[in-house]
């Protein structure tokens, strides 16, 4: 029989790969979204710090949380969204940061820290910022106004999409009425529900992914969307424009945090510090089409990016916009309303 030596070889090969090689160089294990760091930057960090960086990816905050909560360890740096950071922090899953190791934090844009949840960067440092807004086709949408009320326009009926995201879409309803998108007032939420139900009659569907293709191909004329996505679409279809509604919008921030179970705490600090080096911050911003809130880094960006409303929000609008907070038990209020919206005839 020839089979057995082959089997033995396979088992050996499998076993050999479990023994991790190179114990001498320290390894930084990062758990993050796919394609969230420019590869050159990672290589530069490895060279400068004489270490190896290993990147693993997750696809949702909730999945990452469930995994860590169930006991997974070994990760030194995570990039969850702000609301997940506050949840993890309240469960004491995160380490306080040592500011002595993070001299570059002085470059972090104070305007964003004003609206941040962790204002003192006690356990989290903002990494990337995305705005929610309206993308539309300039040639097809007559007299566009930057307002959530666009979803009431009968002439765009069936050619618009809202995000299939509870907090984003109910939040848009709340903002259109002038309320906070973290409101837990039942009366305000009821009004917001009525607004979203009214919009629902005009939209094609609730959509989180395919709107990019839809607006690029002209199937949809106006979509509730994330700025970074639209910047990518604009490279293909220059007719697509992006605007922030004048009533204000949602700002999503992904933060850099170090879990309690981290092994390479010093190296993780060094990486956070490295990401807020103005040059690195600017390179990452260009690579990702999101904004790294690094004041000194802004100066290194092209004029085109600096004048793009999808990247740099006008300060007045930013003052009217908010970051989603973790609502704790009050989250149930939203879930109930969202169910009613989704199931309404």
């Amino acid at each position: 029989m020839k089979k057995r030596p082959i089997l033995a070889l396979l088992v050996l090969a499998a076993a050999a790969s479990f023994v991790s090689c190179g114990r001498s160089t320290p390894v930084l294990n990062i758990y993050t979204w796919a394609e969230y760091f420019k590869p050159d930057i990672i290589r530069r960090f490895e060279r400068e710090n004489g270490c190896r960086v290993v990147i693993d990816t997750f696809d949702s905050n909730e999945a990452m949380y469930a995994k860590l909560k169930a006991g997974a360890s070994g990760y030194d740096l995570l990039t969850p969204s702000s609301y997940m950071v506050s949840l993890m922090s309240s469960q004491e899953m995160l380490q306080p940061l040592d500011h002595g190791l993070l001299p570059n934090l002085t470059h972090v844009d104070p305007e964003y820290l004003k609206i941040a949840i962790d204002k003192t960067m006690h356990h989290s440092v903002p990494y990337m910022i995305v705005n929610t807004g309206l993308a539309y086709l300039k040639s097809k949408v007559a007299d566009f106004v930057p307002s959530w009320s666009m979803f009431d326009r009968a002439d765009l009926k069936g050619r618009m999409t809202l995000l299939n995201d509870m907090r984003e879409t109910i939040g848009a309803g709340l903002k259109s009425l002038g309320y906070s998108l973290n409101s837990t007032d039942p009366r305000e939420l009821r009004q917001a529900k009525e607004v979203v139900l009214r919009w629902r009659a005009h939209i094609a569907k609730f959509e989180n992914e395919q709107y990019k293709n839809g607006i690029a191909s002209g199937e949809f004329l106006l979509v509730h969307s994330y700025s970074g996505d639209i910047l990518q679409v604009q490279r293909e279809n220059p007719d697509v424009a992006f605007a922030i509604p004048r009533e204000g919008t949602a700002i999503s921030v992904d933060d850099l945090v170090i879990p309690k179970t981290a092994g390479e705490v010093r190296l993780a600090h060094a990486f956070i510090n490295f990401l807020h080096d103005p040059r690195t911050a600017a390179e990452n911003t260009v690579f990702l089409s999101y904004l790294c809130p690094n004041k000194e880094g802004y100066a290194l960006l092209s004029a085109e990016l600096r004048n793009n409303p999808a990247v740099f929000m006008n300060p007045e609008l930013r003052a009217r916009s908010e970051i989603f907070a973790d609502l704790g038990a009050d989250n149930a209020l939203y879930v109930k309303i969202w169910d009613e919206i989704k199931s309404a005839k």
């Binding site: 499998a14 076993a15 693993d56 169930a70 997974a72 070994g74 191909s217 679409v233």
Partner: protein, 257 residues
């Protein structure tokens, strides 16, 4: 009497339904457009970019190593389990054994993933390729055992007795008589185990540790936040490799038979 054309039409419809998505995927992998919105010209750019994505290749390597390793080990365990289940008296203990082997086929994946993770965490095992390998063997063994067991149902044990009667020792009987006869069952089980292991997402997600991202986890994350055309290119390469492997293995088995 004229034959009905319905079977032909149904066959064509089914084949169309099966293969159209794959054809679209392959065609789109050569599309210059990032969003697959209409044809923007033939381009190899996604394949070119794939060459510069070491993370994807590492994930592919992880997947392959685990799938090959898990298949090898689960074939040994699964065949042994199937043999024991078939050969020995259908006692209460054996029925319990059957239940244990059968269990992973019916337990929801998410439950298995999270319970394995909790077990590993409680035992203080460092998560990584090793834990994924163990988890995959755990569910692959059952599939191999069931496939081999089915093959054993119409296996004539008189053949074994005859071999021993003619002076063959246990080792010789195993190698020259038993294994060749149930080889198709083992091969089918191995292929099933390999396929299940290489595209498992749910269980793998939970038991994966630092540096052990597999291809399905990578792809899933890329669909949401990365570049879908890269996935199309990667899938096309995988399809080509799989088809080639199948064709070669059919050639080999035909030349033997």
């Amino acid at each position: 009497m004229k034959r009905s054309r319905l079977p032909l039409l149904v066959t064509i419809a089914v084949l169309f339904f099966f293969y159209l998505p794959i054809i679209i995927l392959v065609v789109n992998s050569f599309n210059a457009s990032r969003f697959g919105t209409g044809w923007q010209g033939f381009s190899m750019r996604w394949y070119a970019r794939l060459l510069h994505e070491p993370e994807i290749w590492r994930a592919a390597r992880n997947s392959l190593v685990i799938a090959l390793g898990a298949t090898a080990l689960s074939v040994v365990f699964g065949t042994a389990a199937a043999f024991a289940l078939h050969r020995f008296a259908w006692s209460r203990l054996q029925r319990f054994h059957y239940g244990l082997v059968y269990m992973p086929l019916v337990v929801p994946e998410i439950l298995m993933g999270i319970s394995l993770l909790m077990a590993f965490a409680a035992a203080g095992v460092r998560l990584g390729l090793g834990t994924i390998f163990l988890a995959h063997v755990t569910f692959c063994v059952s599939f191999v055992a069931m496939t081999v067991l089915a093959r054993l149902q119409d296996f004539d044990f008189a053949v074994i007795e005859a071999a021993q009667d003619l002076g063959a020792g246990w080792g010789t009987t195993l190698r020259k008589v038993f294994l060749p006869l149930i080889a198709p069952g083992i091969l089918a089980g191995a292929l099933l185990a390999f396929t299940l292991s290489i595209d498992d997402f749910v269980i793998t997600f939970f038991v994966a540790g630092p540096g052990s991202t597999t291809l399905p986890i990578r792809i899933y994350s890329m669909i949401k936040y990365g570049s879908p055309p890269l996935i199309n290119a990667l899938s096309t390469i995988l399809l080509t490799v799989t088809f080639t492997a199948v064709v070669i293995s059919q050639r080999i088995s035909r030349s033997k038979g």
